[in-house]
Amino acid sequence: MDLEQETADRFLSVIAAHKGIIYKVASFYCRQAEDRKDLIQEIIYQLWRSFRQYNEQYRLSTWMYKVALNVSISFYRKDKRRQERMGPLTDSILDLAPDSEPPETERHLQLLQQFINELPSLDRALMILYLEGKSYREIAEILGLTDTNTATKISRVKDKLKRKFLTVNN
């Protein structure tokens, strides 16, 4: 097997193992299913472009979050004409099959998604990383903040989310 093929196969296994990261980030920056399909395609394409330069001294997930968040925030800011730019692929790379949670969990999940979606794009990135269980140091590295202040920002955004839940539940 040549090196090129080996890299391509390794990339496929990385994507398969971390597909959840891509889907989660894309779904919080793009709620429309059609646009999300394009965004997921763009994230995977940019990951592939950057894969050969991936520096193994960093965690794979750190690299993936940086690329996925950067592509998603840029995509989110573009106007609707972006669809003209996309390639010929018409099917979805990532498909979410119907799957229902208990009604209460489902309702809370929808609210959480809605509330995170309402946050400014940078706060949104911060919250996604926090809920993903990333350490403050890793969040600071991905976003480019100082790690001492990441905690303060997280606490502020978390309070905002909690207040929103409180408003709905009362």
């Binding site: 496929l12 840029s74 800011r77 790379i93 809920l131």
Partner: protein, 220 residues
């Protein structure tokens, strides 16, 4: 809702994705074979278009300067020369932007990459304000020595005031077209339209990044 509840809700979402998310490997393989596609292609093409238009205009003016050169029409040579100079500054800036677009790396930190990108989009405005400085030279193309000597009242009351008005307007635009004025009414009117939307959105996003960073610095 408490912290632990938020996290367990997120875990429920994670498990849901784990159960139901299917990856289409065939499509990923297709993406791997696509070459030289860039999300920034439109921004790069826009800069290339401006470079091409700038070069065309510079070539036309250069040709006219060569063809029309006479000692009696020295003002045309000077005016066209100044316009060419401003155009060359614009062209050089856009070439620099193209280089910067190709250097954008999505695997850098989110704030650094997004700031870089937004600055690139907003920089169109910075070039524009420099280009506005060439405006008065368009009114002096056909000034001659005779006009100053024999032009009379008509020349001093109609032609010269136009040049002075263009000079004042270009200096005012140069000084006032800046990010801090993006919220002002005249600015929004002037840069209203689909071609300016990415630029004005980039300015707004730069402010959001600045606020995010400033908060970080203040708390240090």
């Amino acid at each position: 809702m408490e912290d632990t509840e938020l996290k367990s809700l997120w875990q429920a979402y994670d498990q849901k994705l784990e159960r139901s998310l299917a990856l289409n490997l065939h499509l990923v393989k297709e993406l791997q074979t696509q070459k030289a596609r860039s999300a920034l292609r439109r921004l790069a093409w826009y800069k290339v278009l401006l470079i091409a238009l700038g070069l065309m205009w510079t070539a036309i003016l250069g040709w006219l300067m060569y063809r029309l050169y006479t000692p009696g029409l020295i003002s045309f040579t000077i005016s066209a020369g100044m316009v060419i100079l401003f155009n060359l500054v614009g062209i050089a800036s856009y070439i620099r932007h193209l280089v910067l677009i190709h250097r954008i790396d999505n695997s850098n930190s989110v704030l650094a990459t997004q700031k870089h990108l937004a600055e690139l989009q907003a920089s169109t405005l910075r070039v524009m304000r420099i280009l506005y400085l060439q405006l008065p030279f368009y009114t002096t193309f056909f000034y001659t020595r005779e006009m100053f000597i024999q032009g009379g009242l008509w020349f001093w009351l109609s032609t010269v005031p136009v040049t002075l008005a263009f000079t004042a307007a270009s200096i005012w635009l140069y000084r006032n077209i800046r990010q801090e004025n993006a919220h002002k009414k005249w600015f929004r009117r002037m840069f209203d339209g689909p071609e300016w939307t990415p630029v004005t959105q980039a300015i707004a996003f730069l402010e959001e990044i600045d606020a995010f960073e400033r908060e970080d610095v203040v708390k240090k």
